[in-house]
Amino acid sequence: MSARVLPGVGVGRRAVVGPVVQVREPVRPASDAVIERDGAPVPHDELPDVVGAAFATVSADLAARAERASGSMGEVLAATAQIAADPALLTGTRKELSTGTPPVAAVEKTIGGFIEMFTAMGGLMAERVTDLASVRDRVVAVLVGAPLPGVPELAEPSVVVARDLAPADTAALDLDRVLAIVTELGGPTGHTAIIAGQLGIPCLVRVTGAGDVPDGTRVLVDARAGRLVVDPDDEDVAAIRRLADAELALEEDTAPGATADGHPVDLLVNIGTAADAERAAAATDARAVAGSGLFRTEVLFLDATAAPSVAAQAAEYAAALAAFGGRKVVVRTLDAGADKPLAFATLADEENPALGVRGYRIGRVHPRLLTEQLAALGQAAAETGTQPWVMAPMIATPQEAAEFAASARAAGLTRVGVMIEVPAAALRAEAVLAEVDFVSLGTNDLAQYTMATDRLAGQLVDLLDPWQPAVLELVATTARAGRALGKPVGVCGESAGDPLMALVLTGLGVTSLSMSLGSVPAVRYALRRHTLAQCEAMAEAALRAASATQGRAAVVDLLTEEARRLLA
């Protein structure tokens, strides 16, 4: 059988081979669908027993999955199993049947009644709505003899394929058995891709036709090349295995980040919580990973219904700082708004939130959020005896940078910087840098604003490419300002974790690269195989290129042969 290749957009660099498991959409049969058993319609007086059996089957299946699952996933499944066994659902459905309601409609109406009631009650009750909907879809599927919807149980390491994965679906995945995630929709900076990237799971998005690959089909997911190979031949598979072995070997090298001729580049990791900090710090030493170049503090705020207290914030920051000991930690102040709304600081509906009150601008509406956060960080620094770096997101002007620096220094913080993600700030980088101690480039947002392309618009991904020469031009402008003033210029966007881009950024004069922990080995390897002069030549080629694709190709041509085999 010959292999079939479906193109997509890859996230991460790894490639894996495994069997497909499709995430099924719920079936939506007609509400008066005829229920059959053994090829014949079920007589009316037997319907209550058949419906009862469907609830029992669903409950038993969920309970069995809860037994086999670990940790919080087991608890969630057990709670859903209890709902499926709830006597009120069976009683309600049977009552509907006795008044002549058809079976599917009876199930939907009974469970729908609870969904409406719990939604109206809000709060803790509203959280049960997802469980109720899941029970409804499952019972309906069993009634009409369709496969169970949702994320199936993974009996072996598998490639999970879905049209799109909701956050709840991702949370229900047994990650130890997920080899890769493939979706038909979504974009490379969407929810699924970011989660997959953080977990180091290869991911392909925007793969048209992936949903039609039958369960159990062997596929090769090649994130780096952005392709899904259906029924790969042995040669394809062997090539992937060789690369995987080489990647493993890369991880054994833990020398500090530097080019072949010893030009140092700090290799840092992005974190969201103190737990992330503990994990990253425990897995590495200060030589291998110099600290964190991006501590996204909004994670602490996103689930909160009220602003966390100064004491609660200080405790979380202190835990992260302590985990890294004396290593560098760059804390980013609250970056909320746009795609990251806050429950307790909701802004009036904005027509265009990405261009609205987000990041540092939140301070215009809720000044206390920023002052309290800086106070908490100042306390955490004093308590741990460390000197955290702190930076504000979405700075547009030198005046904003000066204002932020004054607030941060007033809170006792000594290393103050801002993010460069608005083109205006990049164009005035020298004036911005004059006000602060360092800057860090957020390449995802910088690309979004430079290219006027929504990060969530999957069909525009080519415009959002960080290899776009216009985006690199702004990085170059910023790095030049850093060199002129002798101040550090970091990159903490996704592009810092792409080893080829890391070479270009280093050539442009960027002094630190912050990425997901899993990206560090390949970036370290790329740097160690090339001199600063080679990096500068690559930067020059990428800047001069007519397009993103040509720029990347030009850099591939300049790689050493060994690096090209491993990285290109």
Partner: protein, 87 residues
């Protein structure tokens, strides 16, 4: 049918985990039924976590438990009065 009036001890009221534990205990009393409700209102089947949660009973509220099984009634009354969020 015997009944007991109890003050809800769980700090989150009869939601989530406390509701799950109470309904499991009520289900264990089968074949006897345990009814739960606010004083003066018709009780609901306490073995249904959905009905139990739909009452929206908060911490510190009084509830009436009723059943033919005295032993089950005692067990349930003690459980409802305990702060199940604390364990």
């Amino acid at each position: 049918m015997a009944s007991r009036t109890v003050v809800v001890g769980s700090s989150s009221g009869l939601h989530a985990r406390p509701a799950a534990l109470v309904s499991q205990a009520a289900a264990a009393a089968a074949p006897a039924t345990v009814l739960i409700g606010r004083p003066g209102e018709d009780g609901v089947d306490a073995s249904s976590v959905l009905l139990l949660m739909s009452l929206g009973i908060a911490a510190g509220e009084e509830v009436v438990l009723a059943s033919d099984d005295d032993a089950a009634l005692d067990r349930l009354a003690e459980l409802v009065a305990t702060d199940l969020d604390a364990s």
